[in-house]
Amino acid sequence: MADLIRQSPATAAVPLTLRLALRDMEGITRRNLLRIIRTPQLLFVSILQPTIILLLFRYVLGGAIHVPGINYVDFVMPGIFLEAVLIGGMTTALALAQDLQAGMIDRFRSLPMARPAFLAGRTLADLIRNMLALGFIIGLAVLVGFRFHNSVGACLAGIALIIVFGFALTWVYAAIGLAVKDPQTAQMAAILPMFVLFFASSALVPVATMPGWLQPFAQNQPATVTINGVRALFQGGPVYHYLWQSMSWSIGIGIVFLIVSLNLYRKATA
């Protein structure tokens, strides 16, 4: 009897294979997508926000800003596209803080699932949501006069660059959500990186018009190099310099915050 009890756990525990880990991730992704679909109001607001920014810079402020050598609508849209992806990341932080507070993370952590699969399922679902939001914003941009002036391949590469950058940033938001633990705080805290990355960048005005002390940061920060790269891919111009810088930032940010998030998840307590 004693032997039977001691042995039963060993036979019950299925070794965690990559196949099972991927299946866990798929299950969690599906759960998160269902949650996104069933809170359409959140989805709506996260698309409405970049829509307003887009219309604001196209029709209210755009007339006063002149960028030499390019139509302002073509100049500003890559930045707006990036912002649409950054705003989506805020919901990543919010959703994780909610899961933590509701006790969902306790349940998942007590299950034999692969732990990274929980976070990957979150960021993947948000990646899919971001791609849909981005599709909508690009369509809207074209309606208000934005045009691609480059090959289809280059334009698709530009869109891919935005998506990769957005996915890397999702891991930053995941870490924020797990670190602050409270949904309201998560939402407020998640605005900060968006503000710095979006406004102190080449998204809205050329960096050369900014004060000298700000230029070194604004010129080299990840959002700027990504926007410059995307702009070059959409409109033509030298691109490789920006491309490898943006990719390096995205991969670096992604890996660092993946590790940070996993560590926070391992110790997560509401």
Binding site: M1, A2, I5, R6, S8, P9, A10, A12, A13, V14, L16, L20, R23, D24, G27, I28, R30, R31, L34, R35, R38, T39, A102, G103, M104, D106, R107, F108, R109, S110, L111, P112, M113, T269
Partner: protein
């Protein structure tokens, strides 16, 4: 620790000198206990006693500072992954996804237990039937009542058919009728030999469900045994006085105070006063005489066996919430 009549089998839960600190607070202080296979043990204690902390350590959610803890023969530090395959956890706060349907919740947990799809689909259906949730199975959980949510949570913890089940305050916040329903379900479920550790603030729950009780207070085990053993440890009886007018409570308490082995406990909401006494009839008659001398109006006066509630008070020096939810005021009792 040994329980009466238990066959010597390997314990399913073994805890030795477990300590967990949060800052300067010792949430668990040298806690030791052991639960035999197929036993149901209630961890009884007030809020902040360390019940949930112990459950979190045993379910691998929290790493202890020192001491040893084994579940199904597996160490919580070294074999955490293996432990997760053999345990089920139903939390204090119904940890089911509000936006998913009952069925989606169960199927997701089944998938994450690494069951095959036909298996978890079938088990989810069975669980819905068993928990009387078939009609609500395809509705989002946010439309469920509190009791339905707890039943679903319980079902989710059982999808993996775990040999060890942890129930952290399974009925806290439920109304008495729903609580009784849930107790019946838990009794059914444990009848098939699952080892259960449940935490509760309710004496009645511990008595109803558990074969033995471990009393936890301020992170330490203050007593362990069957409910009867704990009551017997009190010795003697309890004198109970039910006064007609609430204003008389304090006066009655002072009149009979000298007769008991501890200070009288006053329940203002029920106009009742109870006090442990060594003997029985002598104290009853003395109390009756003293109260009659001042002409106090009484509803009832009697002697009864100590309840687990009284035992808990004697062991810890303070009361926990009683099952009916009335607040009890306590004197400086000592056991």
């Amino acid at each position: 620790m040994s329980y009466g009549g238990q066959v010597a089998v390997a314990p399913m839960i073994e805890v030795e000198a477990l300590t967990k600190r949060f800052g300067v607070t010792r949430a668990l202080d040298q806690v030791s206990l052991s639960v035999g296979a197929g036993r149901v043990v209630a961890l009884l204690g007030p809020n902040g006693a360390g019940k949930t902390t112990l459950v979190r350590v045993l379910t691998t959610l929290l790493i202890p500072d020192s001491g040893r803890a084994r579940v199904a023969g597996l160490d919580v530090r070294e074999d955490a992954k293996a432990i997760r395959s053999v345990i089920g956890l139903a939390g204090q706060y119904a940890t089911v996804d509000q936006l998913l349907t009952g069925r989606e919740n169960l199927e997701l947990v089944g998938l994450l237990y690494h069951l095959d799809r036909p298996v978890y689909r079938c088990r989810a259906q069975q669980a819905l039937e068993r928990m009387s949730l078939v009609d609500a199975g395809d509705r989002p959980v946010k439309t469920y009542s509190g009791g339905m949510r707890r039943r679903l949570d319980l079902a989710a913890s059982l999808i993996g058919r775990p040999p060890v089940l942890f129930l952290d305050e399974p009925t806290t916040g439920l109304d008495p009728r729903t609580r009784n329903e849930l107790w019946e379900l838990i009794e059914e479920l444990v009848a098939d030999g699952t080892t259960v550790l449940l935490t509760t603030q309710y004496m009645q729950e511990a008595e109803e469900l558990a074969s033995s009780v471990v009393v936890l207070d301020a992170g330490r085990v203050v007593a362990a045994g069957t409910a009867d053993e704990l009551k017997d440890r009190m010795g003697g009886n309890v004198l109970e006085i039910h006064v007609t007018h609430q204003a008389d409570l304090e006066k009655a308490a002072s009149l009979v105070a000298g007769l008991g082995t501890a200070a009288p406990r006053v329940d203002a909401e029920q106009n009742k006063l109870s006090m442990p006494v060594k003997g029985g009839p002598r104290e009853l008659i003395a109390a009756g005489r003293a109260l009659d001398d001042v002409g106090m109006a009484l509803e009832d006066l009697g002697i009864r066996r100590p309840s687990l509630d009284d035992a808990f008070l004697a062991l810890t020096g303070h009361a926990t919430s009683s099952v009916n939810g009335f607040r009890t005021r306590t004197g400086e009792a000592d056991g």
